[in-house]
């Protein structure tokens, strides 16, 4: 039963990414050129509501379904891993024009070439896993 809910959330997410054009290479390029408000509006309005909702959840200690805690664990403190990892991610995001969510959406939309990007992303994840203990975190 729960699987169907996740499937519906996924389908909705896929349509949303495609229809908002957040999955378009052009929109990502335009964002980094500061050429339009569109992407900033999407992220900004999601965040505006996200901050309000998350604050209320914490303030009133609202539980998830079944009474379990919400997944709002604080992230580990560090600068190096977030900054270096973030910069590498940004380089790839602007080059391939797609972040992980939209990659799956574009695969479903029938863009064969995105499979190369996904293959690269899997390889990058694998190499990170191998090098993890040698990298500054």
């Amino acid at each position: 039963m729960k699987s169907i809910i996740y499937l519906i959330v996924g389908v909705f997410f896929g349509i949303l990414m495609y229809k908002s054009e957040a999955a378009s290479w052009f929109r990502i390029y335009e964002m980094f050129e500061f050429g339009a408000f569109h992407m900033y509006g999407i992220i900004g309005s999601a965040l505006f509501l996200g901050v309000i909702g998350t604050t209320l959840i914490k303030k009133f200690n609202i539980k998830a379904l079944g009474g379990q805690e919400m997944q709002l664990k604080p992230k580990d403190k560090s600068i190096a891993r977030y900054l270096i990892g973030g910069i590498l991610f940004g380089l790839g995001w602007a080059l391939a024009g797609a972040c992980p969510g939209p990659m799956y959406v574009l695969a479903g939309a029938g863009y064969l070439s995105i499979l190369i990007v996904i293959g690269g992303a899997l390889l990058g994840t694998l190499v990170y896993g191998i090098l993890k203990n040698k990298l500054p975190h």
Binding site: Y104, G108, G129
Partner: protein
């Protein structure tokens, strides 16, 4: 009926992204798309190479179902709900044409990079592969991507997520301002 094909404006799309994040929180999960890449590596047997991939991937089954749904959603949207043209700022489109990318306004993704025919060009292949590699490597190093840091993490006022998002933009700006001229110039 043309409105069906119109893109959704930011003030519709952004709140709907927040809605997805809250639905997942209420289901006891966290919105994060790049962790599926790690899960896929684990399923593929990467646990033999690195302990990083030794975890109970079945606990991530829900997220894989979301990936499946996202692909179905992409199919539905591109087939029935879109004319698959993205119109961007004209000056930006003009700048792209100086890079030899002239499909802005006529395609959803630049045909110069994403058409199947372009795959025979080693440069295009390298762009796709290296771009993907950096996204995968960077997302795991930073512990999240756009959904995990820029949306979930910043919503929870996490300083690490702010550092990561600043990193995303440093990387993106370096790429389009300094590396694009080398690749496409």
């Amino acid at each position: 009926m043309d409105f069906i094909y119109e893109p959704w404006p930011w003030y519709v799309s952004g709140p709907l992204i927040a809605l997805i994040m809250f639905v997942l929180l209420f289901l006891g999960k966290q919105f994060g798309m790049s962790s599926n890449l790690r899960t896929a590596c684990s399923i593929g047997g990467a646990g033999k190479i690195s302990d990083f991939f030794k975890f109970d991937w079945k606990s991530q089954r829900w997220n894989l179902i979301i990936v499946l749904g996202a692909a179905i959603g992409g199919f539905i949207a591109s087939t029935y709900l879109s004319n698959n043209e993205v119109h961007i700022n004209e000056n930006v489109a003009e700048k792209l044409s100086t890079y030899g990318i002239e499909s802005a306004g006529t395609a959803y993704l630049p045909t110069e990079i994403f058409s199947t025919e372009s795959l025979s060009d080693p440069k295009v292949l390298a762009i796709l592969l290296i771009g993907g590699f950096l996204v995968g490597f960077g997302a795991r190093y930073a512990g999240g991507c756009t959904s995990g840091h820029a949306i979930s993490g910043l919503s929870n006022l996490q300083l690490p997520s702010l550092i990561a998002v600043i990193g995303f933009f440093i990387g993106g700006l370096v790429m389009i301002n300094f590396i694009y001229p080398l690749i496409f110039g």
